[in-house]
Amino acid sequence: MAALRMARRSLFSKPSSRPCSRRWSATPAVVLIGEDVGVYGGAFKTSEGLLERFGWERVIDAPISESAIIGAACGMSYCGLRPICEMQFIDFIVCAFNQITNFVAKGHYLWNAPAPMVIRGPSGGGVHGGPFHSANPEMYFVHTPGLKVIYPSTPYDAKGLLKAAVRDNNPVLFFEHKFLYRRIKGEVPSGDYTVPIGKAVVRREGKHLTILSYAAMMHTSLEAAEALAQEGIEAEVIDLRTPVAAG
């Protein structure tokens, strides 16, 4: 709680870059690779300023080739780096579906090659993105053995889980709901902390029914629980945070 008292309020969109930057000062193993992540700082400005700080060797502007981004990051991870790949919109991750599900996910199972990489990107709808900029494709990967999937709903979890993802020795997919980017605010400790992958959290106590949810729908679920409470029904809301953590 001391850490929380010290914490400042932060926009949801910021944790994506902050853990990287703090982490990078101590860990040259982490590199960022993606479309427009360098000069422009990312389509959602999640990597703003990182190029100036860390240089082009660690903040790599890639061509519009999702398979090449994932593949190159996989190769880097085999060499001991810990790359973070950004999909500009997570919808485009399916362009690299083969690379992720067949190469990245099966490597450790098949020939004992860990791929400690993170694939992250803005997902979800509600911001006038249309059918190709609003997808929630996490379930494709939940059903793919060898991957961990993270989908946080609060700024605190976003930072802690991203740090945990970077430190994890498995390939981790990190979804960021862009509806929450500039709508949800929460306290984020400035220190180093992680949120364990695979632990759900109870967001609201209740005895009559349980609502399981994650990401943006978790907030909707809380609103629904409040509405139910006015009718005398106490709903428990559980935030999964990591739809799959088996790896």
């Binding site: 000062s25 060797e57 090449a68 593949g71 190159a72 880097m76 060499c79 945990a164 180093d192």
Partner: protein
């Protein structure tokens, strides 16, 4: 080309492992989880496993090359693709990315004229597949894939150029697939004249023909290796014949047993090796000073240090001295890739011709 057993042998994979792998035995590199050459060895032999989907290794090896450069090592990565695989999207994505990054990467395109039953003319409207390199602004060679000396010299030169920072290089080795796509395929779709033409240019025979001459002096290493390989293969065959049955197929509990025995199970490795208590490195943008740290810290052993064929760039004099040695494995692997005599030995460079 994926599943390039020749390259595996040159890089040092034991024939025993290949036999065990193909019989899906428990003692094979993948512990019986696969029955083809889908395995690698990052720590000692520096081999990244291929997968069945063609072309996927190209961006991965680009990433390995980029990581090597980032870590300050003068490594060159090499992989293979066929004429069929060169039509995949990831071939182009990967090669373009490698070109944009000027990654030290050599891609050998084995044009053996057939992708399963589809002739190359029906796949690609190009006379030379090496022309695809032009689209990415990288250099390419065309080499007679059945001429062992030419392949070796070309690959050696390409590796040296890539190591010198000239960016990725594409080598098209023109050859012929003597057998069918797989055991079940009698390859009756291959015209008889074509087969006869290429059978007359079988590379092992051509090599034997010139092996007594001084010309091939540069390839003595290869010849010796080849003999050793054959010897080792015979031993491997004996080994498998005698002992393979002792290593049962993987089923049920044995698979679980293997899972428990994985030395790098992430649940055991933990995340502490990348912890926040790491020493702070200044000037990380230029990577000065961080190399040693990263080598020591990552994975708790010097994997990154030994990934390439040569020592880190920091020791420039040693790197220079070893560059000839360093390029050997790749070049030797290229020798293995040949199938038959090729139509044109055309566009290789003058220095290569001088060597011949």
């Amino acid at each position: 080309m994926i599943r390039n057993i020749g390259a595996l042998l040159v890089k040092g994979v034991r024939p025993r492992d290949i036999f065990m792998q193909h019989m899906a035995k428990y003692d094979s590199p993948t512990k019986g989880k696969d029955g083809t050459s889908h395995f690698g060895d990052l720590d000692d032999l520096h081999i990244v496993s291929p997968i069945s989907m063609l072309g996927d290794l190209i961006p991965v090896m680009t990433g390995v090359a980029m990581a090597g450069r980032y870590l300050g090592q003068k490594i060159v990565t090499m992989t293979w693709i066929g004429d069929g695989g060169s039509s995949t999207g990831v071939f182009h994505e990967g090669l373009n990315f490698a070109a944009a990054q000027k990654a030290p990467f050599v891609l050998i395109l084995e044009n053996n004229l057939w992708a399963y039953s589809t002739p190359v003319r029906k796949q690609v409207p190009l006379e030379n597949l090496a022309d695809r390199a032009k689209a990415y602004g990288i250099d390419s060679y065309i080499v007679d894939g059945n001429d062992v000396v030419a392949v070796y010299s070309t690959a050696k030169e390409a590796v040296e150029r890539a190591r010198a920072g000239e960016g990725p290089i594409l080598i098209e080795a023109k050859s012929f697939r003597r057998q069918g796509h797989a055991q079940h395929d009698a390859a009756e779709y291959v015209p008889k004249e074509m087969r006869a033409y290429w059978e007359a240019r079988e590379p092992a025979r051509s090599l034997r023909k010139i092996s007594g001459q001084r010309k091939v002096a540069r390839c003595q290493g290869q010849e010796r290796d080849r003999g050793e390989d054959q010897h080792a293969a015979r031993r491997g065959a004996r080994f498998c014949g005698e002992f393979a049955d002792a290593s049962g197929r993987v089923c049920g509990d044995r698979r679980l047993l293997h899972r428990r025995r994985l030395p790098q199970d992430p649940r055991e490795v933990g995340a502490a090796d990348c912890g926040s208590d790491a020493a702070k490195i200044e000037r990380h943008g230029s990577m000065d000073g961080s190399r040693i740290w990263i080598r020591q810290r990552l994975r708790g052993r010097e994997r990154a240090d030994s990934f390439g064929d040569t020592p880190p760039a920091a020791h420039s004099s040693a790197g220079e001295a070893k560059s000839a040695n360093g390029s050997k494995p790749g070049a030797k692997a290229a020798v293995k890739s040949g199938g038959k005599k090729a139509a044109k030995a055309g566009a290789a460079s003058s220095s290569r011709k001088a060597r011949r």
